[in-house]
């Protein structure tokens, strides 16, 4: 048991280190993050002025967390898709390691590195923009933990997209649409309160509502009730996603076929 945990931990460790040492990549991503935050801040300044109410700073913090979820996710969908399509996965079959957990651990390591970078840099930037925080400092660890949990669910979602390569080859575009659905149903960029009511009613039944909106609103609307609701729904969605991933993974194991010369 210890051996198994240490095995997968070493994958995560190496990819964490690899990602953290790639400075040009980090700088590039930070530029994108800054640009997104500044642009959306600008948007909300303009919208706020027009409707004669001060810009709602808490929303910029919400945006920071949402962007962190989106930007820190490694492209596991593409990795799985490629590994499945090229048959690469099969070449790990005769090694004493689970291919899925190996790739997943690598993704978690990479994601954790990005998460730390985005939250720390983005936090400072957001503070510089808003000059205030909408949360109590004692709640910060819980908020960050929930955001990290959301990052993990997003990763599950990407794994599920990648795994769907078993059935069809459009995973890249499927993942794109799923990301976009996250923007819309999770209320990143434009808060859910602005959408028409019928739309919010639909959004509630998607995982995005749970792991974006419910988790991240804790940053400006913290209550134990909200926390409990977020945790429960997130656990529900992650178990559903995991069930799907494992069903697909099992099917894949049976169907593995490579053409050889």
């Amino acid at each position: 048991m210890f051996n198994t945990v240490s095995k997968y931990f070493s994958f995560a460790k190496i990819s964490f280190r690899e990602k953290s040492s790639n400075l040009t990549l980090i700088m590039g991503m930070l530029v994108i993050l800054s640009l997104l935050l500044l642009t959306y801040n600008q948007l909300w300044v303009v919208v706020g002025k027009e409707s004669n109410n001060a810009i709602n700073h808490s929303f910029i913090w919400y945006l920071l967390l949402a962007e962190t979820i989106i930007l820190s996710a490694p492209r596991v969908d593409r990795i799985f898709d490629e590994d499945i399509r090229s048959g690469n996965m099969a070449y790990f079959i005769n090694k004493p390691v689970s291919f899925f957990f190996m790739r997943f651990s690598e993704a978690v390591g990479e994601m954790t590195s990005s998460f730390i970078t985005f939250i720390s840099f983005g936090g400072v930037l957001t503070l510089a923009i808003t000059h205030q925080v909408p949360f109590e400092w004692k709640h910060l660890p819980i908020i960050l933990a929930m955001c990290y949990f959301s990052c993990l669910i997003n990763l599950f979602l990407k794994c599920a997209c990648g795994m769907s390569a078993i059935w069809f080859s459009s995973t890249r575009y499927l993942n794109m649409v799923v990301d976009r659905l996250g923007f819309v149903f999770g209320g990143a960029i434009i808060p859910l309160s602005i959408y028409p009511e019928w739309f919010v009613n639909i959004a509630q039944y998607t995982p995005f509502y749970s792991f974006y909106y419910l988790s991240l609103r804790l940053v400006y609307e913290f209550s134990w009730e909200n926390l409990l609701q977020a945790i429960t729904l997130n656990i529900f969605w992650s178990s559903l996603l995991c069930a799907f991933i494992f069903a697909a993974y099992r099917k894949l194991g049976k169907r593995t076929q490579i053409y050889g010369g």
Partner: protein
């Protein structure tokens, strides 16, 4: 020369089309997913404007036009000239040599060397959004729209080409180019009217997204010759620069020791 290049262009495109259609269900699926993706994004803005009516004077009609022109232009870029994104990769794996040694114009071959069928979805989005904007009833507007999409696609190609060409001069700069291009896309997808002050300066210089969103929309909604002149001169300047920069880089590459090492 021009005629034979055009012939070559069509035969390359025919092949791209054929290979995309080797699996028809995939091709259609990708197309529809791309369309859905774009429409979802526009839906988001619709939700915002449904509540407010306008942002700094921009209504939904402006946004339909902006996203319409943008998507159409990007679609043309990605379906026909996506090769410019692959230049850094060609330099790295040495396949650029194939294009240099060909009797045809090497820039032309490089540009048309990649194509993604799914981006027909962008072109379709462009048409749908143009219809949504309500400007389609007037022939003159349709013509202006088409001309503008061509200009926008030239800007996309030239801008990406200039960024890719950086790889001739410096190793591992592809990431940087990619990020700038991403920023360009992010900027160009916001309602142009929200950018003021310093933002507007960046918006029209380092990351010239204004030329593919602000200018084209104003040319349709509120035509002024001066705007068209600015847009045309910018496009000409940018593409001349990109072409010059590419050939200068190519010269450097083929006389440098990178050539043939692998």
């Amino acid at each position: 020369m021009a005629v034979s290049n055009l012939n070559l262009f069509w035969s390359i495109q025919r092949n791209n089309f054929k290979s995309a259609f080797a699996s028809k269900s995939d091709a259609f699926m990708n197309f529809f997913l791309m369309l859905l993706n774009n429409l979802l994004f526009v839906f988001m803005w619709w939700a915002l404007l449904e509540n407010r009516g306008s942002i700094n004077g921009w209504t939904m009609q402006h946004l339909y036009l902006m996203h319409g022109i943008n998507n159409f232009g990007f679609g043309i870029y990605a379906v026909f000239f996506r090769g410019c994104e692959a230049i850094p990769q060609y330099i790295e794996n040495g396949s650029l040599e194939n294009y240099i040694t060909s009797p045809r114009n090497s820039l032309f071959l490089v540009l048309t060397s990649e194509s993604t069928f799914a981006n027909w979805g962008d072109i379709a989005t462009g048409i749908i959004l143009f219809i949504c904007s309500g400007y389609y009833t007037d022939l003159q507007n349709i013509f202006t729209f088409l001309v503008l999409t061509m200009i926008v696609s030239v800007i996309f190609v030239a801008f990406r080409l200039a960024l890719s060409t950086l790889s001739f001069y410096k190793n591992d700069i592809d990431r940087f180019g990619h990020n700038i291009f991403m920023s360009f896309l992010i900027f160009s997808s916001q309602p142009a009217s929200v950018f003021g002050g310093w933002y507007k300066v960046i918006y029209l210089t380092i990351i010239p997204a204004g030329f593919i969103s602000l200018f084209p929309v104003e040319i349709i909604t509120d035509f002024k010759w001066v705007n068209l002149a600015i847009l045309l001169s910018f496009t000409t300047a940018l593409s001349s620069f990109a072409i010059w920069f590419f050939y200068r880089g190519l010269k450097r590459y083929s006389s440098g020791n990178k050539f043939g090492v692998r």
